[in-house]
C-alpha cells in the first residue's frame, strides 16, 4: 500500500523506537502533524519555543543514551532550533532534528517562511540532508539515526519540503544501512593498545583524565574497573562527571578552570597522562604551552580528529572507548606486570597533600545562604541519586563541584557551547524519560529567564521538576570576571527588574518558594522534594559576592590556580 510522506515519517519514527518527539507545529509540517494525530505510539511534546525542543531532546538523550528526536517548522522554527543544534554538536549529543521546508517548487524563491536550513545548520551538525523525493524519505531517516548515534555522536538535521510529505510511495524501512563514505572505527588497534598499556604500567606519576566520551560510549563500568585495577588517580572533565564515582578515594574531582587543586596539580606533575574520551578543551588545559610539561600521553577517542588537535599525543588509539578499555583491561590481566608500588605510593602521598588544601572550602558560618551549601544539602537529601540539569554560570560550576555524581548520565549540562537557557528544557526531556526519578534543575536568575516559558510545558505534561534557582541578583559568572579582571566595573551584569519568581511560578500553575536564610535551606529542599507530583520553583536568595574557587585564570597553567 502506498503511504504519504507524512505517514512514512511517522512509521520511520516508530521503527526507530522513538517514543518521544519534541516539537512545535507550523505550515510546512502540518501534514506530519496530521499523521502524528492519527497514531499513538510516538508521544509528541509541545514545547513553547523551538530552542527548548532541542534542549529537551538533549536532556532526553543525555539521560538515557538514546537519540533525541525533534520536529520544527520551516523558517523561524528552524532558526529557533539552531542554538540547540549547535549545543548538541559541541557536546556530541545524538539527535535527529526534522525541519519542515517550503515545497520543492518554491525552494530558492524566497517563499514565505523559507530559509536555507541545510546551509544555516551545516557548520553545527554532524551531517544534514534535504529530502528531494518521497522515495528517499525512509532511507534518509534511517541514515540520519545511524549517523547521529554511531562513531562520535552528534545532531543530524533532515529538512523535508512540504510536498514530499503529501507525495506517496510504498513504505519499506531498511533493516540496516551501509554508507561507503561513513565507517566509524570501533575497535582500537591491538598494537597501539599494547603500547599504551606498556606506557601506562611504566608510570610513576600517572593520571587518568576522562571525559564525556566515556559516558557516550557507556563505558563507566570499564573505566572504573581499569582505574581500580591500576590504583591510579582519576579526574573527570565537566562532561565526564559521574563516569567514575565521585565518592571514591581515587577520584580527585573535576579538572580545569574551576576544577580542584589536586586534580590540576596532579595533571601538571603527571609523567603519564591517560586521556579517555576527552578532547583537551581550552577550559581544561589552561595555557596549552604550560600543559602537562612532563607527561607522555595516551589518548583514546572515537574521533580521529580529536587526537593531537590541541596537544600532541604519544600513543593515539582511535576506537570506541568501551571496547578499547575492555581490551586494555584484558591485556593487563593477561600479563604479569603491575605498576611499581613504591613510586605510586609516593604519588598518592603527594596527591593527598594537595587534597589537604581543601580547595572547595567556603564560609559555613555565613549569615547569608551560600550556594555551595544549597548544593551539598541537595546532594545529601537526594543521596546523590538525582538527575541534575544545569544552566550556565557560577551555579553550574558549583553544581559540578558540590553535587558528587556517582553514576553516569545524571549530570546534564551544556559544556561545550555553554548555553544559558539549557537547564529547564533539559530537565523536561530528562523527566519525561524518567517519570519516577527526581530531576533537579540548578539555575541562576539570569539563565532561567532565557527559557522560562517552558514552565508551561512542564505543567501540561505534569513534570514534577525541582528548580533550584541560586539567585544572586547578578550574572554571577560575568560579575566574577569583572571583579577579578576589570577592577570591579560591573558593566551590565546586575540583574535589575527581576520578577517575583514565587508569583511567576504560581502564575504558571506551580509551587513557588523563596528561601532567604541558611537555616531554612534544608527544610525547603525537603518539602519540595516531598512534593512528588508538583513542579517546585525554589528561589534561594544567595550571597551576592560569592565567587567560584579555585580558578585557573585565562592564560595561566594548571599549576597556577587562584585559591580562596
Amino acid at each position: 500500500m502506498e503511504l504519504t510522506g507524512a505517514e512514512i515519517f511517522v512509521r520511520c519514527l516508530q521503527e526507530e523506537n522513538v517514543d518521544t518527539l519534541f516539537g512545535y507545529p507550523g505550515g510546512s509540517v502540518l501534514h506530519i502533524y496530521d499523521a502524528l494525530y492519527r497514531q499513538d505510539k510516538v508521544e509528541h511534546i509541545l514545547v513553547r519555543h523551538e530552542q527548548a525542543a532541542v534542549h529537551a531532546a538533549e536532556g532526553y538523550a543525555k539521560s538515557t543514551g538514546r537519540p533525541g528526536a525533534v520536529l520544527v517548522t520551516s523558517g523561524p522554527g528552524a532558526t529557533n532550533a539552531v542554538t540547540g543544534i549547535a549545543d548538541a554538536y559541541m557536546d556530541s549529543v545524538p539527535l535527529v532534528v526534522f525541519s519542515g521546508q517550503v515545497p520543492t517548487s518554491l525552494i530558492g524563491n524566497d517563499a514565505f517562511q523559507e530559509v536555507d536550513t541545510v546551509g544555516i545548520t551545516r557548520p553545527c551538525v554532524k551531517h544534514n540532508f534535504l529530502v528531494k523525493d518521497v522515495k528517499d524519505l525512509a532511507t534518509t531517516i534511517k541514515k540520519a539515526f545511524y549517523v547521529a548515534t554511531t562513531g562520535r555522536p552528534g545532531p543530524v538535521v533532515v529538512d523535508i519540503p512540504k510536498d514530499i510529505t503529501a507525495d506517496k510511495c510504498e513504505f519499506h524501512y531498511p533493516r540496516s544501512i551501509k554508507m561507503r563514505s561513513y565507517n566509524p572505527t570501533v575497535k582500537g588497534h591491538p598494537g597501539q593498545i599494547r603500547r599504551a598499556v606498556d606506557l601506562m604500567l611504566s608510570a610513576h606519576q600517572p593520571v587518568i583524565y576522562s571525559g564525556g566520551g566515556v559516558i557516550l560510549s557507556n563505558a563507566s563500568k570499564s573505566l572504573t574497573e581499569l582505574t581500580r585495577l591500576l590504583n591510579y588517580p582519576i579526574t573527570n572533565t565537566l562532561m565526564g562527571l559521574g563516569a567514575y564515582p565521585s565518592s571514591d578515594r581515587q577520584f580527585m574531582g573535576m579538572l580545569g578552570m574551576h576544577g580542584t587543586y589536586e586534580a590540576n596539580m596532579a595533571m601538571h606533575h603527571a609523567d603519564v597522562l591517560i586521556a579517555i574520551g576527552a578532547r583537551f578543551d581550552d577550559r581544561v588545559t589552561g595555557n596549552i604551552e604550560k600543559f602537562c610539561p612532563n607527561a607522555r600521553i595516551v589518548h583514546v577517542d572515537v574521533d580521529p580528529a580529536s587526537i593531537s588537535k590541541n596537544v600532541k599525543v604519544d600513543v593515539p588509539i582511535v576506537g570506541q572507548v568501551d571496547s578499547v578499555l575492555k581490551a586494555m583491561i584484558k591485556e593487563i590481566k593477561a600479563g604479569e606486570r603491575r605498576p611499581d608500588p613504591e613510586p605510586l605510593e609516593n604519588w598518592w602521598k603527594q596527591i593527598d597533600e594537595w587534597r589537604s588544601m581543601d580547595c572547595l572550602k567556603y564560609d559555613r558560618d555565613s549569615e547569608l545562604i551560600k550556594p555551595q551549601y544549597v548544593l551539598e544539602t541537595l546532594h545529601r537529601l537526594t543521596k546523590g541519586d538525582a538527575f541534575v540539569t544545569s544552566d550556565v554560570g557560577q551555579h553550574q560550576m558549583w553544581a559540578a563541584q558540590f553535587y558528587g555524581f556517582d553514576k553516569p548520565n545524571r549530570w546534564i549540562n551544556s559544556g561545550g557551547l555553554g548555553t544559558m537557557g539549557f537547564g529547564l528544557p533539559a530537565a523536561i526531556g530528562t523527566q519525561l524519560a524518567h517519570r519516577d526519578e527526581t530531576v533537579v534543575c540548578v539555575t541562576g536568575e539570569a539563565s532561567i529567564q532565557m527559557c522560562i516559558q517552558e514552565l508551561s510545558t512542564a505543567l501540561q505534561y505534569h513534570l514534577p521538576i525541582k528548580v533550584v534557582a541560586l539567585n544572586n541578583r547578578y550574572m554571577g559568572m560575568v560579575r566574577q570576571w569583572q571583579e577579578f579582571f576589570y577592577q570591579g566595573r560591573y558593566a551590565m551584569s546586575y540583574m535589575d527588574a527581576l520578577p517575583d519568581f514565587v508569583q511567576l511560578a504560581e502564575a504558571y500553575g506551580h509551587v513557588g518558594m523563596r528561601i532567604e536564610s541558611p537555616g531554612d535551606v534544608e527544610g525547603a529542599l525537603k518539602e519540595a522534594l516531598d512534593m512528588k507530583d508538583r513542579l517546585v520553583f525554589m528561589d534561594f536568595i544567595t550571597d551576592q559576592s560569592e565567587n567560584v574557587y579555585p580558578m585557573i585564570p585565562a592564560g595561566a597553567g594548571q599549576n597556577e590556580m587562584i585559591l580562596l
Partner: protein, 164 residues
C-alpha cells in the same frame, strides 16, 4: 608546506559546500580548488591546494575524512605525483613582431594559440603551477587582458591511486 589533497566524494549538491565551509570555519586556507564528476557519476573528485604546518595538514585531512560525504582522500604530496594546471591567457598583440614573439614563447612553453583576432591572441598552456607562473612573467611586457587558471589537479605516479 604546500599540499595537494585529492578527494573522492559523493556527487551530491551539498558536498562541495561542506568542504569549502570546513576550510572557512576552521581558518584553513585554500589556494586552489577544482572539482568535477568522475567516470562513476555518483562520485566527484575534488583537488585542493592548501598550505600549513604538518600539524595543520594532519587536522585538515582528519577533518575532511570526518565529513560524511567524503569517501576517500589522498595527500598527493606524500607520494610521487604529477601536478597539472591549465591556463588560458589573452594578450594584446599589436604588430607582427609581437605576434611572432608570442608564438615563439608559446612554443617554448609547449602552449597553443587557440584564438586569434585583429588585436589579441589566446594562449592555452598546461603544466605545473610554477611553469604557468613563469609564462605569465615572461609576458610581462605585453598587455595581459585576462588570465584564467583551472586550479591544480594531480595524480599519483605508479601503483598508488585514489579509487574505491
Amino acid at each position: 608546506m604546500r599540499h595537494i589533497i585529492s578527494i573522492l566524494m559523493e556527487n551530491e549538491s551539498g558536498a562541495l559546500s561542506r568542504v569549502a565551509g570546513l576550510f572557512s570555519a576552521r581558518g584553513y586556507n585554500i589556494e586552489s580548488l577544482t572539482v568535477a564528476p568522475t567516470e562513476d557519476p555518483t562520485l566527484s573528485r575534488l583537488t585542493l591546494v592548501t598550505r600549513g604546518s604538518d600539524q595543520v595538514i594532519e587536522q585538515i585531512t582528519k577533518q575532511l575524512n570526518k565529513l560524511v560525504d567524503v569517501v576517500k582522500l589522498l595527500d598527493l604530496t606524500e607520494h610521487r605525483h604529477i601536478e597539472r594546471e591549465m591556463m588560458l591567457i589573452k594578450l594584446k598583440v599589436q604588430d607582427a613582431d609581437q605576434r611572432a614573439e608570442v608564438m615563439r614563447m608559446a612554443e617554448i612553453f609547449r602552449g597553443h594559440i587557440i584564438d586569434v583576432s585583429a588585436a589579441t591572441y589566446v594562449v592555452e598552456l598546461t603544466g605545473d603551477s610554477e611553469k604557468l607562473d613563469a609564462f605569465v612573467e615572461s609576458m610581462g611586457h605585453f598587455e595581459v587582458i585576462e588570465v584564467v587558471r583551472s586550479g591544480v589537479m594531480g595524480i599519483a605516479r605508479g601503483d598508488v591511486a585514489l579509487k574505491l
